[in-house]
């Protein structure tokens, strides 16, 4: 395999990781229009919960399941108790979720300490495939696979169920939706919990790649925000393509313009927004 195609593959895999990280936010910010600055901490929470279970000698997959389940429950209560009060009020969302991220991140530090950790790659997926003269980790291929699966899931939910339409309508005019006989509150709670679950899931799956440390939440958050914005709010397709584009460009950029690497993602975002102020696939405001 030539150097460039190796880099491309790395880039795509990396982009998939981005997509996975941002998937939960695609729903909560993109579709539900909730500026969720706690996304990174939910990610972190998922990883740390799984870490605890794995330390208790639980199987990776069981730990994964439990972590996702628990973050979903957490998200559920978050929505029911707090987020519910701030739909449609962006600035209050900012304050609320910012405060939440402080609380959760500090709680994580309190419970799990400040030391860094990683999640082990499950045995099944450890090792690497050699492609030509470069080795490619199996686990990354797995992440690519999961990323595709997530994209499919989102596609299904969007096109084959009414959930997507209910949420969008609920954001437009919540009262009207409820007057049409739909329990918007319930749907929003469920979808928020689902978004939280996705954040938790990506935390667990990202754990072996990114590691776990205090301060990871804000890095993850910024990355996710950028992915969602480049793709255009409300478009999982945009996030998907945007994430992969970032992954590839960033990977190639590391080799070609190493001095710019601190800025690559930001520059990509800036250029995209200058050319398309509503992101790649964002809906134009009617």
């Amino acid at each position: 395999m030539s150097a460039i195609s190796a880099q491309l593959l790395t880039g795509v895999a990396y982009g998939m990781l981005y997509f996975m990280i941002a998937a939960g936010l695609t729903i909560i910010l993109g579709v539900m229009n909730v500026v969720n600055l706690a996304h990174g901490t939910l990610f972190m929470l998922g990883a740390y919960i799984a870490f605890t279970f794995i330390n208790e000698e639980l199987n990776f997959w069981i730990a994964l399941f439990l972590a996702v389940f628990l973050t979903a429950i957490f998200g559920l209560f978050l929505e029911k108790w707090l987020i519910k009060h701030v739909y449609g009020k962006e600035l209050e969302q900012v304050l609320l979720t910012f405060g939440l991220s402080f609380i959760i991140a500090d709680a994580v530090e309190w419970i799990w300490g400040t030391e860094m950790h990683t999640l082990p790659v499950p045995d099944l997926l450890s090792g690497s495939l050699s492609i030509g003269d470069t080795a490619f980790p199996v686990y990354r291929l797995f992440v690519v696979f999961i990323g595709c699966l997530l994209a499919l899931l989102l596609w299904y939910l969007e096109t084959k169920t009414r959930i997507g339409a209910i949420i969008r309508a609920g954001v437009d005019d919540r009262a009207m939706v409820s007057a049409l006989g739909i329990n918007v509150g319930l749907v929003f709670t469920g979808v928020f919990a689902f978004g939280a679950a996705l954040a938790g899931l990506s935390g667990v799956l990202g754990g072996p790649l990114i590691g776990m440390y205090t301060g990871m939440d804000s890095e993850i958050l910024v990355t996710s925000l950028i992915v969602v914005v480049i793709g255009g709010l409300g478009s999982w397709k945009g996030s998907f393509i945007g994430a992969i584009a970032i992954g590839v460009i960033e990977t190639l950029g590391k080799v070609w313009f190493p001095s710019l690497s601190m800025l690559t993602v930001f520059l990509i975002m800036m250029i995209v927004l200058i050319i398309r102020p509503q992101g790649l696939f964002g809906r134009e405001v009617a």
Binding site: L82, H85, V86, F98, A105, W110, L273, I274
Partner: protein, 329 residues
Amino acid sequence: MKKLLLGVVLLIALVFAMPLVLSDFGINLATEIYIMAIFAMSLGLIMGYGGMVSLGHAGFFGIGAYTVAVIGQHVANTYLLLLLSVVISGLIALVTGAVFIRTSKFYFLMITLAFGQLLYVLFWQLKPWTGGADGMSVSAVMNFGFGEIVSPNALYYVMGIAFVMSYFLLYLFVGSPAGKITRGVMENEARMSALGYNVRVYKLLVYTLSGSLAGLAGALYAYFNVFVSPDLSSWMFSGQVMVMVIIGGVGTLLGPALGASVFVYLQNFMSTYTERWPMIMGGLLVALVLAGKGGLIHWLQHGRHFLVFRKQTGKAVSQQPVKKGEAVH
């Protein structure tokens, strides 16, 4: 007009009375709070009167600060340096704003985030001029022609006066035709355009104004802190000012200033009392949202109106909610 004068006189009295009750460190902290208040008011202007929420405002603050730090190595005149800070940050706001205002809402937030980050990296990588990530000391000393201003008390008065002046200018702007029109643009851009306004001019105007004011805050900060580093433009700092503005009260002028003082105060002392300060800080933010009156300033207003209503019993109590931004001036 009379109300305004009264307000300004009150503010000045406050500024001058504070040192009587404050410790050395208290004066120092108050000085910093004035600077942050100017900064927060500048962001509050575009957020509350222009509907533009920026996550890159610290970029302008950094420009102002680095202008004093870098150019101050060669130029001593304080007037000139302050002017340069304001002009440079204003110009950059004008140029970048022309591009950024094409985006709206969340996209605007993110493009300004990128802008702030750009400056952050720039300050970080132009090591020969800026000292890079390690930052640089500021050699310029404030001097308005009455001798060097270095003592904590002298700096305190300068920053206090700067704060009152900034407030005064913003007050004028907000009540002026351009200010009211900007407010209208924030409410309904399309209709303003159909009423015959060139909305981009107003958005750009307020963005530039806000950028140059942030630059001024940064310049003052450089004098105060005598050390600058890229962190001045980091998105975390931008995020912090944003929080100051929101907790203080969006859509008012003094709200952000109040938010700045509360935030800086808490940030400074909370960690002294507890290791778990982020949790408490987070808890306070959440509680503030749940209490649901908007910013702190609205609490004050509420208190004040309560008093006023008590006094004028008999008079019908207006059912209209307090008009944002008016009652506090």
